[in-house]
């Protein structure tokens, strides 16, 4: 059952909030017994999930970003939620558009990952991180693809290594 620390953050979905979420996460992880490498992965994955909300969820600055962190025996589960346009993202509000690496990174860095959402009811990214790891999740879910000529990540392209064209 629960019993571990729980945190709920609700803030405007703006770029300046993403670093605040990282600070809160670092504070919470301090109270738990995480390996440094897992903490680094958590910060990266949560940053990418929050960035997706900031960039894609809303068409103005008025939408909210919600982050829930709940510790259990298995690890820390972090939920990043919005109440925006749903799982089919709006075009990026940022200019230039985002690279498109967010979800592949989250999948590679978390020990478990789930994406929920539907049109009009917002999106929820649920990630779980174990306190210690026997295996690197990035080996099970590697980031595939490479940067395309348009500057966005192309997950279908052959992986990096060859010259990146363009």
């Amino acid at each position: 059952m629960t019993g571990g620390p729980e945190v709920l953050l609700i803030m405007p979905a703006r770029p300046e909030g993403v670093g605040v979420v990282r600070q809160a996460l670092a504070g919470m992880a301090d109270a738990l017994d995480f390996e440094a490498s897992v903490l680094a992965d958590m910060k990266m994955a949560v940053t990418e999930a929050c960035t997706n909300v900031v960039v894609h969820a809303y068409d103005s600055d008025s939408g909210m970003l919600e982050i829930e962190m709940r510790a259990s025996e298995a690890g820390l589960t972090i939920v990043v939620r919005d109440h925006g346009s749903g799982i089919q993202p709006r075009p990026a509000r940022s200019e230039p558009p985002a690279l498109g690496l967010g979800l592949p990174l989250i999948a590679a860095l978390s020990d478990a990952f789930e994406l929920r959402g539907s049109a009009g009811s917002g999106t929820e990214v649920r990630m779980t991180f174990a306190y210690t790891r026997d295996n690197d999740p990035a080996e099970a879910n590697p980031v595939t693809g490479r940067v395309g000529i348009d500057g966005r990540w192309d997950p279908e392209a052959p992986s990096q290594g060859a010259p990146a064209g363009g």
Partner: protein, 123 residues
């Protein structure tokens, strides 16, 4: 004053070093893009020094990749350096995206400056 500064260092002459310190994400990526633009406008080689960076996300990678593409188009050298002891918040994203050989990424600033100078000279 600035907690996460991004400054241009001109001391290497024909190569401009963009020194990135602290944590960088979607909030600071626009500033990084501005600095990279300034560096590109100088016309010489460009080194992005992440030695004192503690965290970079995909917004930062996007800015670096755009600058790299523009540098290549203009025959300007472009190299990233990370120092000898790289923070996990920097190394990890470079490793799992396979971007080390692409950007490219080297350890030492001097090596990066030399490489950026050579590439920019067009051999």
């Amino acid at each position: 004053m600035e907690a996460n500064p991004i400054v241009l260092d001109d001391t290497a002459g024909d190569v401009v070093v963009v020194v990135v310190e602290g944590e960088h994400d979607i909030y600071t990526a626009p500033t990084l893009r501005e600095r990279l633009e300034e560096a590109l406008d100088r016309g010489g080689g460009i080194v992005v020094d992440l030695t004192a960076a503690t965290f970079v996300d995909s917004s930062v990678l996007g800015a670096l990749l755009d600058a790299r593409r523009r540098a290549l188009e203009a025959s300007q050298g472009f190299v990233v350096c990370v120092g000898d002891t790289v923070e996990p918040g920097v190394q990890r994203i470079l490793d799992i995206t396979g971007l080390v050989p692409v950007l490219p990424v080297v350890r030492k600033r001097d090596d990066a400056i030399e490489a950026a100078r050579t590439n920019g000279a067009g051999e």
